[in-house]
């Protein structure tokens, strides 16, 4: 395995981590807002608060880790993506900042402001939408070189059906992942009402998720044939992912094996996400940037890999402790014990 592939694989893995735990967070915010709107928040608030409170900051770190890592391993991305993403990334930062800090303000400061809940819920959908634009741009066709500087064509971007199908996928995925996870969490907490409601949400959002994936495949076959063909080459990974998706929905439909459903959900997204990444290889930005011509020097690459391994030795036990205390602690999940400062 070359250092280039090792680097991008590690970063991709962390982005997958952000995709999963970020989705849970964003979707939870949306369901909470929806609950407030329909007068059902008492069913959900407890479950959502207990899960989110201790981990919200950790979610953010996954994203930071990804973009710092990308610039570290592939410094040229700073030039291409840094210049073109000014507007979408700034909007995403602002939404993330307001959402993140007001989450803390609300949960530790003062509770129960309705307008805030809506804003929080809406931001949770807008963030994945604005971040997903990066994936669209990476497919090429929206960036051109003017005087040796990359320029983003906003008109082409926002009138492309590919953009919008990826946005729909991002939102549907967020809500689906979140609903499946919270169904499992609520079931573990023994909260029947919440389980019932969240199970319904999971089933509802499975549909749009499947449809948007088919839509993207169709659009991509026209937009970036090279990428599409490579996706067909590793079609078995997508196929396996689809099977996992069907089984997850089946378990949830049957109200059984929620733990398996959660495991399969993660498997489904991991497979699809890596299949997408592998078929994107070697391009970081079609057709300007590949992982090879943007890669950092060997000395830095080695240093980063060593730092990464040492960092993981520190992080893995810490994350294990966090999960043991909050995610797998029955008393905590069920709300029997609250030890907040």
């Amino acid at each position: 395995m070359t250092l280039e592939i090792l680097g991008i694989s590690v970063l991709w893995l962390f982005l997958l981590g952000y995709l999963i735990i970020g989705s849970i967070d964003f979707g939870a915010g949306f369901f909470n807002a929806y609950g407030v709107l329909t007068g059902r928040q008492h069913i959900l608030t407890n479950i959502i608060q207990r899960y989110l409170s201790p981990v919200w900051e950790v979610t953010n770190v996954f994203l930071v880790f990804f973009f710092v890592g990308v610039v570290g391993f592939f410094p040229k991305t700073a030039f291409y993506y840094g210049t073109t993403l000014l507007v979408p990334a700034s909007i995403a930062i602002i939404l993330l900042a307001i959402r993140g800090s007001y989450y803390a303000f609300e949960s530790y400061g003062s509770r129960g402001h309705k307008g805030y809940s809506f804003m929080y819920g809406a931001a949770g959908l807008l963030i994945p939408a604005s971040l997903s634009v990066v994936l669209t741009i990476s497919e090429g066709g929206f960036v051109s070189m003017v005087n040796d500087n990359p320029v983003l064509d906003y008109h082409a971007l926002f009138t492309s059906p590919l953009t919008w199908s990826i946005v729909v996928l991002a939102i549907a995925a967020v809500l689906y992942i979140s609903a499946v996870f919270l169904t499992w969490y609520a079931d573990k907490a023994g909260d029947r009402k919440a389980t019932k409601l969240l199970r319904k949400y999971a089933l509802i959002w499975a549909g749009p998720l499947a449809i948007s994936v088919i839509g993207i495949m169709f659009e991509l076959s026209k937009h970036n044939v090279e990428h599409f063909n490579r996706m067909i080459d590793i079609g078995w990974m997508f196929g396996l992912s689809a099977i996992m998706f069907v089984i997850t929905v089946w378990f949830i439909w049957k109200k059984q094996h929620y733990s398996w459903a959660l495991g399969l959900l993660i498997g489904q997204f991991a497979l699809a996400f890596f299949a997408y990444g592998i078929s994107h290889y070697p391009y970081l930005l079609y057709p300007y940037l590949t992982i090879y011509d943007s890669f950092t020097n060997p000395a830095m690459a080695t240093a980063l890999v060593v730092a990464f391994v040492l960092g993981l030795l520190l992080l893995i036990p810490s994350i294990y402790l966090l999960m043991k205390l909050f995610l797998f602690n029955k008393d905590y999940i069920r709300g029997k014990k609250d030890h907040h400062a």
Partner: protein, 448 residues
């Protein structure tokens, strides 16, 4: 191709983001240590007041840390969004500490989550305190790694440029650049000092507002002792920083000191105004600059005349330097007077006016931090990477930076106002007297 307005707005936006972020970042680095000290003292002395102090600070800390995290994310991304050419170049040499910083941040975030949600969960309080150690280490290490990147911008090394290509790159050597030791130490120690004086200001303010509870007195005395230690340390390290400048960035020191001509027996200029190269209304301390720079009152100090005019920083950094140093000295005096006064029983340290001085020390310390950072950044101009890349060459060419500046202004207003409102509400609704009563009722224990 440079885009002049993009360069200008990128500078303004970066300055705005850093100036806002540094307030929360400084508190974020310093306060965990204060919490740790208070909780430790509480456990040692078996005094519930100190434990409560730690607990209430921890609660407020969550709010500031939240703003620190999200604005830190903003500056992290803005480095690539606004300075893509710089990051492309520097990423090759200095990406390592940036990458390590995310680990430090990760580590801190995980344990902060655990620490906050495990109060009273352990029989043995010391176990809970143990969980705070990674938070404090993570917070301080974040500052260390980020400051290393900044130090590299001032004193780049660990690479060679051959035919416009970077070769012979040594990431560790780049981190261990000459600016690193003094800069890192100064940033970390002043963060501790500022956190102590900000919290002391709150305690003094509560006492001025008529709260006579012994809790505040204990808090104030503890914080002033801690603040004194770090204020003295900051001054000593500040002196080393000046000596670093003499050796490696003489133009920065010369501009900050309005030292125009290379000369021996150089005086130290304080305040004043310049008219060309003429300094008016200034206090000149004879031989002091030579002494400061070389520990020798007659030594020669390099002046601005040795540098091309387009490679020297603007002269207004002189005022930033004066502001930082004056406030630093003032805080040493105030905390020393208070601590000595308490021990020796001087009555003036308990008077109203002196408490107002302590209250002023909080915002003053923050101003000193801001002045220090502006001095560090403006003093490096016109370089973004000294002697290798100018700020103007590093900026984005995008046409939308002005609109982003407006959006981020809005964001910082929302975050700034929000955090202040929430913090005030949090402590006003639950004053210390109330909380002590509540806990007494809960435990029926022995409280004084």
């Amino acid at each position: 191709m440079e885009n002049e307005s993009a360069v200008f707005f990128s500078r303004v936006l970066t300055e705005l983001t850093l100036s806002f972020h540094i307030i929360y970042a400084t508190i974020g680095v310093g306060v965990p240590l204060m919490i740790m000290i208070a909780q430790w003292v509480g456990i040692k002395k078996n005094d519930e007041h100190y434990i409560l102090l730690a607990r209430r600070w921890a609660r407020g800390f969550v709010i500031t840390v939240a703003v620190g995290v999200v604005t830190g994310t903003a500056i992290g991304l803005q480095l690539s969004l606004l300075w893509p050419n710089f990051m492309q170049l520097a990423g090759n040499v200095i990406a390592l500490p940036l990458f390590m910083e995310t680990f430090a941040f990760f580590f801190e975030a995980i344990f902060l989550g655990i620490y906050l949600y495990t109060w009273d969960r352990f029989e043995n309080q010391k176990k809970h305190l143990l969980l705070l150690i990674p938070v404090a280490i993570g917070a301080s290490m974040s500052a260390v790694f980020i400051t290393i990147v900044n130090a590299f911008m001032n004193a780049p090394q660990g690479f060679d440029v051959v035919d416009g290509q970077l070769v012979n790159i040594q990431p560790i050597l780049a981190m261990l650049n000459p600016a690193m030791p003094t800069k890192v130490a100064h940033v970390v120690v002043t963060a501790y000092m500022t956190a102590a004086f900000v919290l002391a200001a709150i305690a003094a303010f509560k006492m001025l507002k008529g709260s006579t509870h012994v809790y505040h007195k204990k808090a104030l005395f503890l914080l002033m002792k801690v603040g004194l230690v770090f204020a003295v340390a900051s001054a000593i390290i500040g002196d080393f920083s000046a000596k670093y400048l003499v050796e490696y960035q003489p133009e920065k020191l010369a501009a900050a000191e309005w030292h125009f001509e290379t000369e021996k027996n150089a005086p130290l200029v304080l305040f004043g105004v310049t008219d060309g190269e003429e300094v008016k209304y200034a206090i000149k301390v004879p031989y002091a600059l030579s002494f400061l720079a070389h520990s020798n009152p007659t030594a020669e100090v390099i002046g601005l005349n040795e540098f091309p005019e387009d490679e020297t920083p603007p002269l207004y950094i002189h005022y930033l330097f004066d502001t930082m140093v004056m406030i630093g000295m003032f805080m040493v005096l105030v905390s020393a007077a208070y601590v000595l006064g308490k021990i020796r029983g001087w009555s003036f340290v308990s008077t109203k006016w002196f408490r107002w001085v302590i209250v002023a020390g909080g915002p003053l310390s923050i101003i000193a931090i801001e002045a220090g950072w502006w001095l560090a950044e403006v003093g490096r101009q016109p370089w973004i990477l000294r002697k290798y890349m100018k700020v103007a060459e590093a900026a984005t060419t995008s046409d939308h930076v002005d609109i982003m500046l407006i959006l981020f202004c809005g964001l910082y207003i929302v975050l700034g106002v929000g955090s202040v409102v929430v913090l005030r509400r949090m402590f006003r609704h639950n004053p210390i007297e109330q909380e002590i009563e509540d806990r007494k009722a809960e435990k029926g224990g022995d409280f004084s």
